[in-house]
């Protein structure tokens, strides 16, 4: 008998009661989605920027190497998509598009098609996600309704920058991944 057969048999032999799955009701969530989303991002230690504010930052030259998949900011991009993502180990800024965002917690959904390479939002020193105001949903329930049964090899909710509080519970932004998350609502 394989280990799988042993484990499955050990469970089946118990003949446990089968309880029904509950229905998940429609929880409404916030009504002012934009306000709620911005509060969430800030509490996750991210920042909300206008397109103009981002352009000012990009023009200031503080990010020497930039990779953008977003068309609005594409002319600031000076890096091509590499074959091996390891060569992005010194990337200063990535600008990606999010598909939609969740007001209750600031989580922004990205899939393989948005990321190009899965490591990009992590390996970059700083991250910008551009997401449409009209795409906001109130809660995680609505978020999964929206994803539906769409298939992507990888999907990701990003809600803030990389952070840790493992040293005496002092919050430090920039553990392993992006040291900042800037969100541009368009």
């Amino acid at each position: 008998m394989s280990s799988k057969d042993i484990i499955i048999e050990k469970i089946r032999i118990l003949k446990l009661d089968q309880k029904p799955l509950p229905e998940i009701p429609d929880f409404e969530g916030a009504t002012d989605l934009i306000q709620e989303f911005c509060i969430s991002i800030v509490s996750n230690k991210g920042e909300i920027l206008s397109a103009e504010e981002l352009i000012k930052k990009l023009e200031s030259g503080i990010y020497p190497s930039i990779f953008s998949t977003d068309l609005t900011f594409e002319h600031f991009s000076n890096q091509a998509l590499p074959v091996d993502v390891h060569s992005f180990s010194k990337l200063d800024l990535a600008i990606l598009n999010g598909q939609f965002a969740v007001a209750e917690n600031g989580a922004i959904w990205l899939e393989d098609s948005d990321l190009r390479l899965r490591a990009i939002p992590f390996i970059t020193e700083h991250l910008v996600i551009v997401v449409s105001r009209d795409s906001l949903v109130a809660t995680m329930h609505q978020a999964y309704d929206r994803i539906g049964d769409k298939h992507s090899g990888f999907g990701l909710f990003i809600a803030g920058p990389s952070k840790t509080a493992d040293i005496e519970q002092s919050l430090v932004i920039g553990a392993h991944g992006a040291k900042s998350l800037m969100v541009v609502l368009i």
Binding site: Q18, I158, A165, A175
Partner: protein, 452 residues
């Protein structure tokens, strides 16, 4: 050593144990505030608990459904009946990949399986990449909390450790500075690793995908830079449908640390082009626990750690006092199922106040299960000193004469006997606390005098 002996060790440094107590209570408080902002919070807990009820009743079906869908998506699915087999599977994958150094993100299951020492013995360098886990790994310690692995350490100790191991400035205790040193150190490891190991927060039967949540982004840094991702998952981590993630992700981080959600929540469904994902489904005592009706619900746990943060015993005795991979209240109901002898003092490490049950996001009746384990353990252990004193007490309470008489003797004895005799090691109630002053008369005598 038993839990009380281990706890006494932790309490020797009273300033530090006070800090530990206060800090965990602060996190519990954050959890409260956060949960109060969600009007349907209690409904969500109820939903999560019912979904897990359904999972436990149909576990075999969901596991097979998960395997079918994951395999269809190109994920290699392995099954391990125990820790030994889990470790052997990991090693065989590493050997196939000719890999001698791996990065690993937080996984309580691999701690439970003692994967690190096994791999190291077989010539593999294991680097834990969660900052707290890296710190305790440097010290050769296990994590003392499942969400906050280094909560038992002060920054001075970490500063000294990093000075020794990473060459940071001596005496520099700034958490930002120390974290940046770890970031540089671990980035090299991430860039070099060919295989990365992670745990699993949720496996979804319907889609064959699995979800990993972190704040640091270390799980993703590891797996997306490596060619091979190995995920270790306890079989109880399965949930039926993707839509159920909405319920669990709303509860997990809010219960754990009082934040809205973890900053990274990754859904792995198929490998990136040219790469591999392996998932190991591990039993290691879970099917046995499933068969124990009284303790079955402990398998609903989503490992948020809220029961530890609220527990008056955990907060004051520290994670190491439990000598169990999962400490705290939930560990005290899980671990006796794995080794009753070794963990027999844990169900007694509780005031049975029920705070753990109140904060549990999946509504496990933790304190009731603690009480039930006590009964199992007492049955298994036979006569105890407590049992003898109960028999003695029974004799006294049987006759009013002996009761009145022994009361007088006790009042006299407590006043006149030397302290060393009263606070003897057998009187556990006299440890670290004084008895109240002894009254001159019994309550009965007082009533006679004052309420004639």
């Amino acid at each position: 050593m038993s839990h009380p002996q281990e706890a006494a060790e932790f309490l020797k440094d009273s300033a530090k144990s006070k800090w530990h107590d206060d800090t965990l209570w602060f996190i519990r408080d954050k959890r409260d505030k956060m949960s109060h902002t969600i009007p349907e919070w209690e409904e969500l807990r109820e939903l999560a608990s019912s979904i897990k009820d359904n999972v436990l009743g149909n576990l075999a079906d969901y596991l097979e459904e998960f395997e079918r869908n994951a395999s269809k998506n190109g994920i290699h699915v392995h099954w391990a009946k125990d820790a030994e087999e889990h470790n052997a599977i990991v090693l065989s994958i590493l050997k196939k990949k000719d890999c001698t150094a791996i990065v690993k993100s937080k996984s309580i299951l691999t701690e439970e399986c003692h994967l690190n020492p096994f791999l190291e013995k077989n010539g593999v360098e294991v680097v834990d990449t969660d900052l707290g886990e890296r710190i305790v790994q440097f010290l050769g310690q296990p994590p003392s909390h499942i969400v906050l692995p280094a909560i038992h350490l002060k920054k001075g100790e970490i500063s000294e450790l990093f000075h020794e191991r990473l060459g940071t400035e001596k005496g520099n205790e700034d958490p930002y500075y120390l974290t940046q040193a770890a970031r540089h150190h671990l980035r090299e490891k991430f860039l070099a690793a060919k295989v990365a190991i992670t745990g699993v927060n949720f496996g979804v039967a319907e889609t064959g995908e699995f979800v990993v949540c972190t704040n640091e982004g270390n799980a993703d840094m590891g797996v997306h830079l490596a060619d091979t991702h190995i995920a270790s998952m306890g079989i109880e981590k399965i949930i039926p449908k993707r839509t159920h993630l909405g319920v669990f992700l709303r509860l997990l981080a809010r219960s754990a640390t009082g934040q809205n959600i973890t900053n990274y929540n990754s859904h792995f469904r198929s490998p990136e082009s040219g790469k591999e994902i392996h998932i190991i489904l591990v039993d290691n005592g879970r099917t046995a626990q499933l068969g124990r009706e009284n303790f079955r619900d402990s398998l609903k746990c989503i490992r948020c750690g809220a029961c530890m943060n609220t527990c008056p015993i955990y907060r004051r005795s520290g994670g190491f006092s439990y000598k169990s991979t999962v400490p705290g209240p939930i560990g005290s109901i899980l671990s006796p199922g794995l080794d009753l002898q070794k963990h027999s003092s844990l169900p007694f490490a509780s005031t049975l106040c029920g705070s753990c049950t109140d904060v549990c996001p999946v509504k496990i009746n933790i304190h009731e299960q603690l009480y039930l384990w006590r009964q199992e353990i007492t049955k298994a252990q036979g006569t105890s000193i407590k049992g003898l004193s109960m028999k003695f007490g029974n004799g006294i309470f049987k006759s009013p004469l002996s009761y009145n008489y022994s009361g007088k003797i006790m009042r006299m004895a407590l006043k006149n006997l030397p302290k060393s005799l009263i606070y003897n090691p057998l009187n556990v109630w006299g440890k670290q606390r004084d008895l109240p002053p002894v009254p001159n008369e019994s309550f009965k005598e007082w009533v006679k005098k004052n309420r004639p």
